[in-house]
Amino acid sequence: MKNRFIFKKILLLIVSVMISFSCVKDTDFDQTDSLVLTPIVEVNLVEIQEPADTFLDDFGVEVLNISDLIVFDVFSSDFVDENLLKAELVYEVTNTLNKAFEFKMEFYDLSKTLQHTISFNIENSPTNKPLVSEHTEVFDTSSLEALKQSSTLDITITLMSSPTGSVLTTASKGMIALKSKGVFYLQLSE
């Protein structure tokens, strides 16, 4: 009988010690509400490699410009709309043609309204040495909103005359090459 009493006491002691000493101190579990991830994603975009031929018509005569059109739905998706904080489009053009150009990228929305234009000029390379030029277009605030509206990209390369430039023929050496990538600053939160 005495033993039983001791068991109860010990049991009570163990349980009460465990309860009274077990606690969660100095913590704030509400902090998860502020979980924010900010990855930066880098993705290749358009590449172009065009020799002199591309800028000539069937008779071997220079055209005014060449253009191409891409319809896409990436920028107008809900994910981009909610999470894209900032974007940079990085272009690098290498020109070995003795011809100056103007590059123009026009972003249109679904109703074919022009939302944003990127344009830059490329100098001619008189000795056909690679002439590298770079252009970075930053999209934030209003330009970012314009990008998010866009669903069509119209790329136009216009031939420009310059003091040292020549007229392109089928015999013209060199080519014009464009690399491009997008750097997207995302903000993912609950």
């Binding site: 033993n3 913590t27 990855p39 994603v41």
Partner: protein, 467 residues
């Protein structure tokens, strides 16, 4: 979300190891850990639903305190620190068991040899996943500034299962030195999902004709069984399905436990057991998902219309789109699969000492000729998908009275190197109660704990006549 984190981090108990229960002679449930354990009573009946309640889980690499400490530091900075601190071998584990019924009795064969038969049905839940380090880094940083870094998509390894286990064991004391035992098990898997055989990578390297080349290599698999009941129309149907699966109506498997106890001398004891040497064949209600493919993406080539190929940038874009869709296309199959049970090893060596001296205390009418103390070392190992989980314990067992025994353990394992556990078995007449918990040092602030474990239960014991 908050409660999920709370459950995952705070209730982080140590998975599967029952170092306090192992070898605790007075608690009948110890024979589930070693079918060849010593049994000093005629029989027992576990109080239904209350004979063994076991709950434990663990997390390596960090504790809730690292993230939720109210120290004014930026929450996202703390998350980052934890992510960079952990690696893909860190894991989260959770295990829970509940005895539905259990009992055991000693029988005498015709040749006057005795053996002990025990049986029961318990329900078990097990969740285990490795920390997907590369996914976490990719989510934190993205691929920018990570040129040439290979993000290993094989870091994803998750498994979860709820099952019931029906078991029958036989235990035989061959002579004064050897006791051996064997337990047969029938597993019935109620629900199971696992994605443990994943391979693949995502790498961004410098490109040739464009800035970058993105390489995506995927070979990933998710296997599930028994999940369709969740989409069943009515709640009562769902309960019926779960009930039938609990009673061996799920995906079935078989397995055995083996074990022995060897006493080379009265003072020394060596014992060992292997648990869950078996498998489950998942053939009913199976749904598997697979993603397979390789893609190298350099960008969209803009080819202006006059050129001979006749391909426009739009066509390139569409092609790229199709390639990506193909890459991430999920193939779904219902092929049956087999999974081995997580194999467990327990072994210990111990030394008994301190018999009660009856002559000095004649006032006690009943003597106890057994040793009052026991010290020893115990090793536990568990085979996980990608590694072997282990724990090494030193223990001290003390018989305070005939009806009260204590055992304390000090454990070193993957979770912690200062895990102190305490267990108690108390008998009031034939009713026996036990409770065991570990990581007691962390009870001062559970948030700092990486694992805690708790087992408790009630049994009705039929003692030997000589008691």
């Amino acid at each position: 979300m908050r409660w999920l984190l709370f459950l995952g981090f705070f209730v982080s108990l140590q998975a599967q190891n029952k170092q306090i229960l192992y070898g605790f002679k007075e608690v009948p449930q110890q024979i589930l850990l070693n079918p060849g354990a010593q049994i000093d009573y005629k029989g027992y009946i576990g109080v239904p639903l209350l004979s063994h309640i076991h709950f434990n889980a663990g997390v390596t690499g960090f504790s809730a305190f690292d993230i939720f400490a109210d120290d004014g530091r930026d929450f996202n900075q703390k998350i980052q620190d934890v992510v960079y601190d952990m690696d893909s071998k860190d894991f989260f584990g959770f295990n829970q068991q509940l005895d539905l019924f259990s009992a055991g009795f000693r029988f005498k064969s015709s040749s006057e040899k005795t053996f002990f038969i025990s049986f029961g049905l318990y329900q078990e839940s097990d969740v285990f996943f490795y920390f997907p380090k590369d996914y976490a880094v990719l989510a934190l940083e993205g691929n920018y500034n990570n040129l040439n870094r290979r993000f290993n998509l094989g870091d994803l390894s998750v498994s979860a299962e709820v099952s019931s286990v029906f078991h029958v064991g036989i235990n035989k004391k061959i002579n004064s030195k050897w006791t051996v035992g064997l337990r047969g098990k029938i597993y019935s898997s109620i629900v199971q999902a696992s994605s443990t055989e994943n391979y693949g990578s995502f790498t961004t390297v410098e490109g040739t004709s464009n800035f970058l080349t993105h390489r995506i290599d995927l070979d990933m698999k998710l296997q599930t069984s028994g999940l369709s009941f969740a989409t069943d129309s009515t709640a009562t149907n769902q309960v019926d399905v779960l009930k039938s699966r609990l009673l061996l109506g799920g995906n079935l498997g078989v397995g055995i436990d083996v074990g022995f106890t060897h006493e080379p001398s009265p003072e020394w004891t060596i014992d060992a057991s292997l648990q869950d040497l078996g498998f489950i064949n998942y053939s009913k209600d199976v749904q598997n998902y697979e993603v397979n493919g390789y893609l190298e993406y350099e960008g969209i080539q803009s080819v202006f219309p006059p050129i001979a190929s006749d391909q426009t940038a739009q066509e390139y874009w569409d092609e790229v789109n199709d390639d990506f869709e193909d890459l991430f296309k999920v193939d779904s199959t219902t092929t049956a699969y087999i999974k081995w049970r997580p194999l467990k090893l327990n072994t210990s060596v111990s030394y008994n000492f301190g018999k009660k001296n009856n002559k000095e205390c004649n006032c006690l009418d009943k003597s106890d000729p057994t040793f009052q103390n026991r010290v020893g070392a115990h090793l536990f190992a568990l085979k996980r998908p990608n590694h072997l989980q282990w724990a090494l314990s030193a223990f001290y067992y003390r018989k305070l009275f005939k009806g009260l025994q204590l055992k304390t353990t000090y454990t070193v394992d993957t979770y912690s190197s200062k895990n102190v556990g305490l267990g108690m078995s108390a008998a009031l007449g034939p009713v026996q109660f036990y409770i065991m918990a570990d990581n007691l040092l962390d009870y001062q602030n559970v948030a700092k704990s990486q694992s805690v474990s708790l087992q408790l239960g009630f049994n009705y014991i039929f003692k030997n006549n000589e008691d």
